[in-house]
Symmetry: none
Subunit: 246 residues, 2 copies
């Protein structure tokens, strides 16, 4: 029997659902407005105040809310920062759209392969596990601007899945399907010189400067669903992050 309220069906871990509900509430609350009081929110979300406060702490750490003792909890201005900031994982397609960049999918390449030692370690799967590698070039203004490679076990994505309405973004596909449930991504930020292969794909010179992200995408159980490395041409993307003073 399918649930009526589809948005949050990852009922496996109540804390995640709570976080998701709170995220929605914060997103829907105008900047500067006060959230309901903690006892009220706890009652409404069906959790204790202690649990609610732990969840709230995660949003405070992201600079999304500000709590003032004796006054209340307020949503901070999330106009530019959150939209295009790194705090939220979004597919490159929607990210690019947010900065007003018309993007098209360049070459798309899908390959089945068997996990070598490094890949097995990164994805926490046994060596030899069948994997799917999806690599694609993103174009803007008739020019390649990003090169993205996703690597994930066939358990999560098969060649057959890609037959039907696959736009190129693995993340968007997984999110649309709803399983496995995605929670967060640990992204590392690097600056690299373009290798020959990357240079050819992006139509630049070998050794040119690129911004590179490597990301592990985690499911609810802490399982690695997807490992991706992304190369970005400087100038076409602006990534920023709000860092709080520790």
């Amino acid at each position: 029997m399918p649930s009526l309220n589809a948005p949050h069906t990852s009922e496996r871990h109540p804390f995640q659902r709570l976080q998701s509900q709170l995220a929605d509430l914060i997103a829907l609350t105008p900047a500067g407005d006060r959230l309901p009081t903690e006892p009220e929110l706890a009652r409404r979300m069906g959790v204790s105040r202690a649990t609610l406060r732990e969840a709230m702490r995660t949003f405070e750490g992201q600079g999304l809310i500000r709590r003032r003792q004796g006054v209340g909890t307020f949503v901070v201005s999330h106009n530019h920062v959150i939209e295009s900031g790194l705090e939220v994982l979004q597919s490159i397609e929607s990210l690019a759209a947010k900065i007003g960049l018309e993007v098209t999918l360049g070459t798309l390449q899908v390959m089945r392969l068997s996990a070598n030692q490094d890949q097995a370690a990164i994805l926490s799967v046994p060596e030899g596990t069948p994997l799917l590698e999806v690599s694609r070039v993103i174009q803007a203004e008739d020019r390649p601007v990003a090169y993205l490679i996703d690597l994930l076990p066939e358990e999560f994505l098969t060649l057959d899945d890609l037959q039907d309405g696959f736009t190129g973004s693995v993340i968007d596909f997984l999110l649309r399907r709803g399983s496995p449930p995605l929670v967060n991504s640990l992204t590392e930020i690097h600056a690299v010189a373009a290798s020959s292969e990357i240079a050819r794909a992006l139509e630049i010179q070998r050794g040119d400067v690129l911004l590179m992200f490597t990301a592990r995408l985690f499911s609810g159980e802490g399982q690695v669903v997807d490992y991706s490395y992304s190369y970005f041409l400087p100038g076409y993307f602006r990534f920023h992050v709000v860092r709080r003073v520790g």
Copy 2:
């Protein structure tokens, strides 16, 4: 009455002290090791378990620890490169200290200047406002690894301030003095090729790849206190960020 244990004298908010203590403990705990149990930690830190768990949640959000029900809380791997979650703003010096890396101050250069149009716009001050520019080179293992430039109005930092125990880090100085109150920083992430000037300072070749941050540091009133641009040699730093699935 001076406290005996000097390390954490920011007693203004007990929660911050707790976070600082926990950060140290996590930094000093070998990767993969288990932390003490929550009741034990709460007792040792002198707080309740609920408060402790809220603080732990912030570190979990940064990917520094992993909690497993029925088993314990573990420190996740942090290698010997300077690794930092971007969620929290810390000086390179304190970052390095946390992982036990010896860093020294290379060349330090301080210059008074008068805000030109761009600088005035960035710092939200009138054109001509007297500014202080602090640039420095960070060395690790007898090699320059980072080049950092801070630009801020003399209202917040004067030449005189730097006479007395200035370690090179503007952030650390402002934090130690406690005014103006720092809240957060909006950091942009770029990849650039080294200019001649930067290449000379970092003893690399012009055109070599560098990771670059530009950051505006905000006070409580939303005022821009400091504008900085930082160049990092790849390989010596590993910055990461936890992105939640929107």
